[in-house]
Symmetry: C2
DNA sequence: CAATACGCGGAAAACGTTTACCTTCGTGGG
DNA sequence: CCCACGAAGGTAAACGTTTTCCGCGTATTG
């Protein structure tokens, strides 16, 4: 069942059917009605492949995330999908699971399907792998780590703001030994978060103790290992900030295992504000970075870039705020 | 840059280029080499739309889930994606968020993109919406609720097995008042789980107290509400089984809120074995239903159906086991 | 040595749309 | 009253592949 079948039955040309379906205003309402009737009757759905082939527009955006099973991402994906569907776009989702091999496959598939833009939501990325996309002038949007290149947009995240709030919150609660569990330091965003932590300490005149700064890997297991490490030290921290919520969950989990109660004996702050952090025990004080907002910005960036007729020389820069949200995993530092 | 460009530069016909790329064995190795060289040099990637158009095979499977932000699903999606990619398929992911409107949109988009099969991983579904797919003879695979129709496969889940184990586990721990928080009872799978619970009680001669059987909605909030309800009763249960892990998390969360400690004062058992249940506090005893296995079965069902040359009259039935996995959220019933 | 068979590569049709261009018809102005 | 112009629908080319059908050349067999 194709457009010709419709044309025949409605006694018009395929051109008219096409125009009707695409709501070209010049087609006579009478005719249009006749066409629509046949379309409904036969349950005709246009073939997207054929459409894309001739029009050159696939209406597909690629979405690359690092790990679907990290709850941070599904929330973004969901929002992105919502917006995309609303605008008549489809999404091609791939997850890299931190594997360059898979990453390469992702990119290849995106190119083969002729996506019109790609949002790279993984924090950090083998840049060379994107050559193929850049070469074909596919608009890209990065979260946080976009190199300043044409057709490449960037959503910059103001980590400093939320992290400063968190540090000051802890300081106000009389914490003097604050630990920090960073993300994998080959990720630029992890580096930035760590730097923001250090500069926030400095700002209020607190010493930076390198012994209390560890590297995690943005997973629960990483958080558990890191706390294990910190607990062994002679001078334990009374508060720990984490580079993401999963790490914080791991820390709390390990503390529980060791009989250290949160927040009475240990304050913990996460980062991301995934939904779960509201429901964990105890509910986790964390730094919010709105997933809905990220999705919205990413989509907007791509659409803007796609619809721009005069090719821009530089990608646009977007900014996203972060804010501390207080829950139950922080409290006054224990008395010495 | 298209296949003709390659043909010209390699001084062969487009047919030969096509054959080379598709690894048709009859093409001379010498020629093939020449073609590949040009392909590499120019970074040529075949256009999937054109391919699909002429070959009639899109190599896309649709995946309909109810809610990406329920951690149960991303794990399935991830596995499904892995397998799909491995077999050269792409996946078109949509989530219905329990909204018939969105569901309808999903189906429409699947048909327009000409997916070769659809896995419906939402527990329960407006059957009428699938007419369009069935009409076009698109193979479908359901989890647990597939109607016995041609081209429709079904992954039946043996709830009974895991639930019986769980009930017997609780009985052995001397629990006499066991609560059950069901899923939304308009979902067939929720009904089945509840029925399995009841028949397991009956099997060991325990009374079924309708007062202890509540309806949740497979979310944390639902679990919290349900526990709130149960806690008000004069004769509280000493153990609660939940229709999924998120509900169990809600229950534990609410118990914590009320100062009821799990598992000392209350045993809780979940269902699904999402990754998180291993890391919650306390780690949750739950009934495992392997997400990897679900994904694998679903994919296998679709591929089998697609590749079958003689159209089958009936869809195949697959079976998935469930098993209790013991963690820390269950313990001996408190002394009266 | 001739005739048949077979392997391999090329020409061209086909897939289902969109769209540039053309035709036709009606209308308004000179 | 005739001509020109605009609106609206039709014809056909084009999109980038795969695949069928054919022809050519070489090898094999009688």
């Amino acid at each position: 069942m194709d457009i010709r079948e419709i044309a025949k039955r409605a006694k018009v040309s395929t051109a008219t059917v096409s125009r009707t379906i695409n709501r070209v205003p010049t087609v006579d309402p009478q005719l249009a009605k006749r066409v629509w009737k046949v379309v409904e009757e036969l349950g005709y759905y246009p073939n997207t492949q054929a459409r894309a082939l001739v029009s050159g527009r696939t209406r597909i955006f690629g979405l690359i995330v690092s790990d679907m099973t990290n709850p941070f991402f599904p929330e973004i994906v969901q929002s992105f999908e919502d917006i995309a569907v609303e605008h008549g776009y489809e999404i091609l989702l791939t997850s890299t699971v931190h594997d360059p091999k898979r990453m390469e496959g992702s990119v290849r598939r995106m190119i083969e399907r002729r996506v019109e833009g790609v949002a790279i939501l993984t924090f950090g990325m083998e840049e060379s792998l994107l050559e193929g996309l850049r070469f074909r002038k596919v608009p890209l949007v990065f979260i946080d780590v976009g190199p300043p290149l044409p057709h490449v947009c960037n959503i910059r995240i103001d980590y400093q703001r939320g992290i400063r709030q968190a540090v000051q919150h802890l300081a106000a609660l009389r914490h003097e030994r604050i630990g920090f569990i960073a993300g994998p330091l080959h990720l630029p965003s992890a580096v930035t978060r760590k730097a923001a932590f250090e500069s926030s300490l400095r700002e209020i005149g607190m010493p930076i103790d390198p012994d209390l700064i560890l590297q995690g890997d943005h997973t629960m297991e990483g958080g558990m290992r890191a706390y294990d490490e910190l607990a062994k030290k002679s001078a334990r921290p009374t508060a720990i900030m984490c580079s993401n919520d999963m790490t914080a969950i791991g820390v709390i989990r390990e503390a529980y295992e060791r009989g250290v109660s949160v927040p009475q004996e240990l304050s913990v702050i996460g980062f991301d504000d995934i939904r779960l952090s509201r429901f964990f025990i105890p509910p986790i004080t964390t730094i919010q970075m709105s997933q809905v907002e990220i999705a919205r910005l990413a989509f907007k960036a791509l659409v803007t870039e796609v619809e721009r007729e005069t090719p821009s020389s530089k990608g646009t820069e977007y900014v996203l705020n972060t804010d501390l949200v207080l829950r139950k995993s922080t409290a006054m530092a224990p008395q010495k």
